[in-house]
Amino acid sequence: MTSTKIFRKYTLTEVAQMLDVLPNELARYFGQTGGLPHRLLFDDADIEKIRVEMGLKSWWGTKQESTVQDSNQIRGLVRSLSSMILAHGLVRAERADNLLRGLEGSEQALIRRYINTLLRMGILKSEPSISALEISLDHSKKIILEEIVKGSRYPSSIESLWK
């Protein structure tokens, strides 16, 4: 594609990379909002619009709530996410990938495993939506997260993430 700014177009894969979202999920968003364009090319103006409409946020990008310090890096990440979940509340379902966005590589893989553990324990509830998996917090179980944030008690399935 030409390098001239006004003619620069992005493929759907490039847009997905820029937004840090799975391209299939991006395609489904288009399917729900009038369909994919005839030519699968997008310009700069499309990207911000998509970010807003898909509700894409970056929990780790801002580092606003990730204040938990821990001598163990993995445990620190787990406690930080727990703290962010409590601060956010997750009363209304949130895109699961928002909880990962901003992290990369092994850190993202770890947090993904932690989210799956919380889902299996029923602390987080999953709500399938067409574009992405959405999650919310079961507030009757939030004490478990509070204990994790304090570092006072860890359920064995969570402790196994760093042991």
Binding site: F7, P23, N24, R28, F30, R112, S129, I130, L133
Partner: protein, 312 residues
């Protein structure tokens, strides 16, 4: 000559009886031999028939069990066909990707040639300068703003041929039209449909390694079908559903699970969306490809293994 002894009638009659007996003995001897032969033949025939009956009975048992295995054999044949089809259709996509990329590069090269013409290059710089200040225009004095807008109009008009060339449809390949199969598997009747699996001739690694390499027709078709599934769900009023990618022996299986009420015919809706792809998707038209839906029983792809997977 000696005296001829005259036999009495009794003697004659007794001799007659002896001859009769001899004849009878001979007759019975012959008959007995014949009966023995016939008996032997019949015994042989009985043996042969017994053997034949045994074989027929054995074949009956075999045929019964072979018949019972027909479902399995049919499935096996279908699976073989399905895999061969996936492989050959994937090769077709690969072949058409090269063709599509060639056409696309020619188009880009033509556009770049046009952009390198000094007259256009200058106008593009001016156009881009306008875009950079566009948001601040409102803060400028009206007379300056009007002059800038008028000039931008002139620049935009001068660039019309470039925009026209950029938006011109890509030419179609001269390759023969070909179709790809979208295999749709469902278990229950259409009214009770809650799960649909969609198998595509697209390698699973296109999904897992999507960040690597250039976007090909495999990627684009996968995106189109994902878009079609989402549009189908919207069309039939489904608000809660999940779509999961699974590895089906190296190919992508999209597993659609529906958790809310269906307000329309899923089959009709999906077929309409696939038809829409065939009508509008530029990359398919250019590469002379189209998508065909077939609905199949989910038995073909079901395995006995229960797999555990992470939700996210």
């Amino acid at each position: 000559m000696g005296n001829k002894q005259i036999q009495s009638e009794i003697t004659k009659n007794l001799d007659g009886v002896l001859r009769w007996r001899q004849r009878e003995e001979e007759r019975f001897e012959k008959e007995e031999l014949k009966l023995q032969r016939d008996g032997k033949l019949l015994q042989d025939e009985i043996e042969r028939l017994r053997d034949e009956l045994k074989k027929v009975e054995e074949r009956q048992v075999e045929a019964k069990s072979e018949r019972a295995a027909l479902d399995g054999k049919e499935l096996e044949k279908k699976r073989t066909l399905l895999f061969d089809g996936l492989k050959s259709e994937n090769s077709l996509i690969e072949e058409r990707t090269s063709e599509y990329q060639k056409i696309q590069k020619e188009h880009e090269s033509n556009l770049n040639n046009m952009l390198s013409i000094p007259e256009y290059a200058q106008k593009i710089k001016e156009y881009e300068s306008f875009l950079d200040i566009q948001e601040t225009l409102a803060q400028l004095p009206e007379s300056y703003r009007n002059a800038t807008m008028t000039h931008h109009g002139v620049v935009r008009k001068a660039l019309d041929p470039v925009f026209t060339a950029m938006n011109a449809p890509l030419p179609k390949s001269s390759l023969a039209p070909a179709a790809l199969t979208v295999q749709i598997f469902s278990e229950t009747s259409i009214e009770e449909l809650r799960e649909v699996a969609i198998l595509l001739p697209i390698r699973f690694e296109v999904f897992t390694r999507w960040r690597e390499g250039e976007e090909t027709l495999e990627h684009k078709i996968l995106f189109r079908v994902n878009g079609a599934i989402a549009a189908m769900l919207k069309k039939v009023g489904v608000v809660r559903a999940s779509i999961r990618e699974e590895d089906f022996d190296g190919y992508i299986l999209l597993l659609v699970s529906i958790y809310s009420e269906l307000l329309g015919d899923l089959k009709v809706a999906l077929q309409a969306e696939i038809a829409r792809i065939n009508r509008y998707a530029t990359e398919l038209q250019v590469s002379q490809l189209s998508l065909n839906c077939i609905w199949l029983s989910s038995d073909i792809i079901e395995s006995d293994e229960e797999e555990y997977y992470d939700e996210y």
